[in-house]
Symmetry: C2
């Protein structure tokens, strides 16, 4: 059985945005202190040795906080460090292959950007654990991202999805409450924490906004 | 036990250079007909789904020719399609991790570009099966490659290496005989076959040059 997981405040840790390996470790720790409930490592510009070195250092930290740690795209890096799972996109390895390689206990997330992809993801119960829906807003973080779906598109995806759905794409503290009105299971952020002057405080502020929106 | 392998004419199949998925399949088949003894898939610009789809189609072809098929860098793609192994660089996952993930029967190659890396690779007997030494010449194929080692550098690496060593980097039909004077176990080529007007003939010409150089 997969362990329970909480998508509320989902940190996508981009070590380049953080300022490198050591800075990424500091940001992850601060975000966890501030209330991040899940950490994903995503370093598209990096070679795999650097992913491996950083992931190996992050895992005991996320474990200490009881928070799942997943790897973007690279199932082999997840296997190499014994991470809790992966997050895959539509152009990465197929979800059923990732599940076969990682086993039944891994946490597997899948990106969807429209209703067609959501409908297809609905057939992947038992293979995929959650969806990442977006980008909600345009974002400079991911240059190869799909067209933004907006709050209405996010609402439609969330309503159609049979799996818990975390919103992603351009989410910052100033729009977090707006996005939460679409009732996603949580918010995934990149630069809102990775580039924050005080990542702990940025995470705590987002966590408070998310909690407030559920009242 | 790992199966025997022959590094003589080692095709690094770059599907972008070939002209896409279908063209890459045709090039691979033609190269095998012409005498390629090993095929590596390398598609740095591609997402992993495209690697997976192409690798799955190539494997039965290489199997039909009794030639090993390895995946550049991505251990997960190799696991996903049950390829014969991987070729890893100095900045990819560590060789011992790749061996652990792939098991004792996989064929694992490691790139080295200088004597320090060769000396270190000499400690990896039982983990790494062969070395790829180069780039011998400067090449536009790999923009992040190390400084060319030249024929003398290749000779020095080959003399120091305890593992069979295939030469790579800028090798074309016009310089193949020169490179073979350094007595590598074989030649790895990319554009010399992938961009050839007649890949079967290009492979056959290279195979003949290699065979001739051993007399």
């Amino acid at each position: 059985m997969r362990a329970a997981f909480d998508l509320s405040l989902y940190l996508v840790l981009d070590p380049v945005q953080c300022g490198g390996h050591d800075a990424a470790v500091r940001v992850a720790r601060a975000a966890l202190e501030g209330g991040a409930t899940l950490v994903q490592l995503r370093a598209p510009e990096w070679h795999k040795r650097a992913w491996f070195d950083l992931a190996r250092e992050l895992l005991p930290i996320t474990r200490a906080y009881g928070v799942p740690f997943v790897i973007n795209d690279h199932v082999d890096v997840a296997l190499a460090v014994d991470a809790d799972g992966v997050h895959i996109g539509q152009r990465d390895l197929p979800a059923d292959i990732a599940r076969r390689l990682l086993g039944p206990d891994a946490l597997i997330g899948l990106s969807v950007s429209n209703l067609d992809e959501t409908t297809e993801a609905n057939t992947l119960g038992g293979i995929v654990d959650y969806l990442g829906a977006g980008p909600v807003y345009a974002t400079p973080t991911k240059t190869d991202a799909s067209t933004p779906c907006g709050i209405d598109g996010l609402s439609a995806i969330r309503a159609a999805a049979r799996l818990p759905t975390v919103a992603i794409g351009g989410i910052q503290s100033h729009n977090a409450a707006d996005v939460m009105r679409a009732r996603p299971a949580g918010l995934a952020v990149v630069s809102a924490i990775c580039k924050a002057a005080d990542p702990r405080e940025a995470a705590a502020t987002l966590a408070a906004t998310i909690a407030q929106s559920r009242i």
